[in-house]
């Protein structure tokens, strides 16, 4: 089972890097959705030997929300706002990838030295969680479009979820349900906000919002 967990974690790291390197919004949404599905499946692998109905239901709920509902909400926002690409990001895509490399190094350095209670099942869980959070934060800072920032927020939530999964395997799923609800409401509200920002100003560029003066 450990091989599969390791492979999934590597895939999660790769989705993060892909998120940093792509400009198409639809592709970004799919990447974050894929990441959500990967992380939704992860608890099933942890409990492969003692699968209970509760774990399965929670995994299903998490996978469904992150893999189906969020992408659907965000794709609708993209369609209504009629934006295809994130043009002129604050930090370019190639430099974003390189910064992603540095972040990965930082995450590993911190992750391996962080004294945590309990044992993670693979040594990469905590670094991968930290890396996902950092990439989420970086996406929020380095991109202009409100939609990409929402995606960064989702990636950050994915990171927090992985972090919870890393060292306490059973109870945090309860906490996760709480977070999931919050995030769901947040994405819902953000989707509506993006729609309204776009209708008022004909764009979803958050940089220009701060320079509005009447």
């Amino acid at each position: 089972m450990n091989n599969w967990i390791e492979a999934l974690i590597v895939l999660v790291v790769l989705t993060n890097l892909r998120l940093l390197g792509t400009s198409r919004l639809i592709a970004c949404i799919r990447i974050v959705a894929f990441q959500g599905i990967l992380l939704g499946v992860l608890p099933l692998l942890f409990h492969a030997n003692d699968l209970t109905l509760r774990v399965m239901l929670q995994a299903a709920a998490s996978t469904f929300t992150k893999g189906v509902v969020f992408p659907w909400l965000l794709s609708r926002a993209v369609r209504e706002a009629d934006v295809r690409r994130e043009l002129e990001p604050i930090i370019g895509y190639t430099s974003s990838l390189l910064i992603g490399c540095v972040l990965l190094g930082t995450a590993l350095y911190v992750g391996w030295r962080l004294p945590l209670p309990g044992t993670a099942s693979t040594p990469f869980m905590v670094p991968a969680a930290l890396f996902t959070m950092m990439v989420g934060l970086f996406t929020i800072v380095a991109r202009r479009k409100a939609l990409t920032q929402v995606l960064g927020y989702l990636a950050m939530e994915n990171g927090i979820y992985t972090f919870g999964l890393a060292f306490a395997e059973k109870e945090p799923l309860l906490v996760e349900m709480g977070i999931l609800l919050d995030v769901f409401v947040a994405v819902f509200v953000m989707g509506i906000t993006i729609y309204h920002i776009n209708r008022e100003f004909d764009h979803i560029d958050t940089d220009q919002l701060s320079s509005l003066k009447d």
Partner: protein
């Protein structure tokens, strides 16, 4: 003994691999295509011709093709082929390989600059930019392989690998390195997502443009060296993807040869199904390959 045979195979069959790529592309395009052995005929024809040297060029121009061919022939000595050990194996030979390829590139580039043609200068500039980005991907990937096998020589890191390693423990590492090497393979051999080997428009091509002023035997050396370089980098890739250690060395060589021609066919498929990237997008692909290699290295570091 068997190590010498695989070098002979490389020397004899490298142009055939290019023929396989061209045949695959022809099949995809619905053409009959050139003969599989076309490159051999081209090479013989060029070798019988005389070379013309411009009066503005110096000895550097005529040294370029010779040094390139010599460097790539030397690099064959340290590259293991599939499961077969290389003729020379010593700790650190991966750096020798990287720098022999670097030497080859350096002489191609200064020979191109020596002509004083602005087109060749442009090609040289692009070649250097892209290979500077491809080199970290190659070296970090080799470092990951070395760390994984606990050996600093290419033969050491490729020996003892089994096909089942790809799905068992450490499989992600090998797959990441293989993906990075594939990008390096395509970039260094001027294949389609990076460069179009068929184009003869100076504004878009990278590698071909640097050979515009070479003729006769010099051009034959350049083409043959390019074919050998593809064989060398291909051997690094199939060493990961087709690692056969049956105990019978001849069988391993045959498996690796089959792997090499499958790789050539796969390259043909990639070239037929993809468009060349815009030149501005190429660095992004190469940086992504380096990132994959770095991730692989990080995974084996713990």
């Amino acid at each position: 003994m068997i190590s010498i045979i695989h070098i002979l195979f490389a020397v004899l069959l490298a142009p055939l691999a290019l023929g396989v790529i061209n045949r695959t592309k022809a099949i995809f395009a619905g053409r009959r295509g050139q003969p599989l052995l076309q490159l051999y005929w081209d090479l013989f024809k060029l070798l019988r011709k005389g070379a013309v040297y411009s009066r503005t060029t110096t000895w550097v121009f005529s040294a370029g093709p010779l040094v390139s061919l010599a460097a790539v022939l030397t690099s064959l000595l340290v590259v293991p082929f599939g499961g077969v050990r290389a003729l020379l194996a010593f700790p650190g030979d991966l750096l020798l390989l990287a720098y022999l390829l670097g030497l080859m590139r350096f002489f191609t580039v200064i020979a191109a600059l020596d002509t004083g043609s602005s087109f060749e200068g442009m090609g040289a500039s692009r070649e250097v930019t892209f290979s500077a980005l491809a080199e970290p991907a190659l070296l970090l990937g080799l470092a990951a392989m070395g760390r994984r096998a606990g050996s600093l020589s290419l033969s050491g890191m490729y020996s003892g690998m089994m096909p089942s390693d790809l799905v068992h423990h450490g499989g992600p590492v090998l797959i990441l390195v293989a993906a990075a090497f594939l990008v390096v393979f395509l970039a260094e051999n001027a294949r389609i997502p990076i460069d179009d080997p068929d184009t003869h428009l100076e504004l878009t091509m990278i590698h071909e443009v640097m050979a515009l002023d070479h003729g006769g035997p010099d051009f034959a050396f350049i083409q043959y060296a390019a074919a050998l370089k593809m064989w060398v980098l291909g051997a690094l890739l199939i060493g990961i993807l087709v690692p056969m250690h049956t105990g019978l060395p001849p069988l391993d060589v045959v498996a690796a040869l089959i792997g090499m021609f499958l790789l050539a066919a796969a390259t043909g498929v990639i070239e037929s199904t993809m468009a060349r990237l815009r030149i501005l997008r190429v660095p992004q692909l190469l940086v992504a390959a380096s990132v994959l290699s770095m991730l692989a290295l990080v995974l084996v570091l713990d």
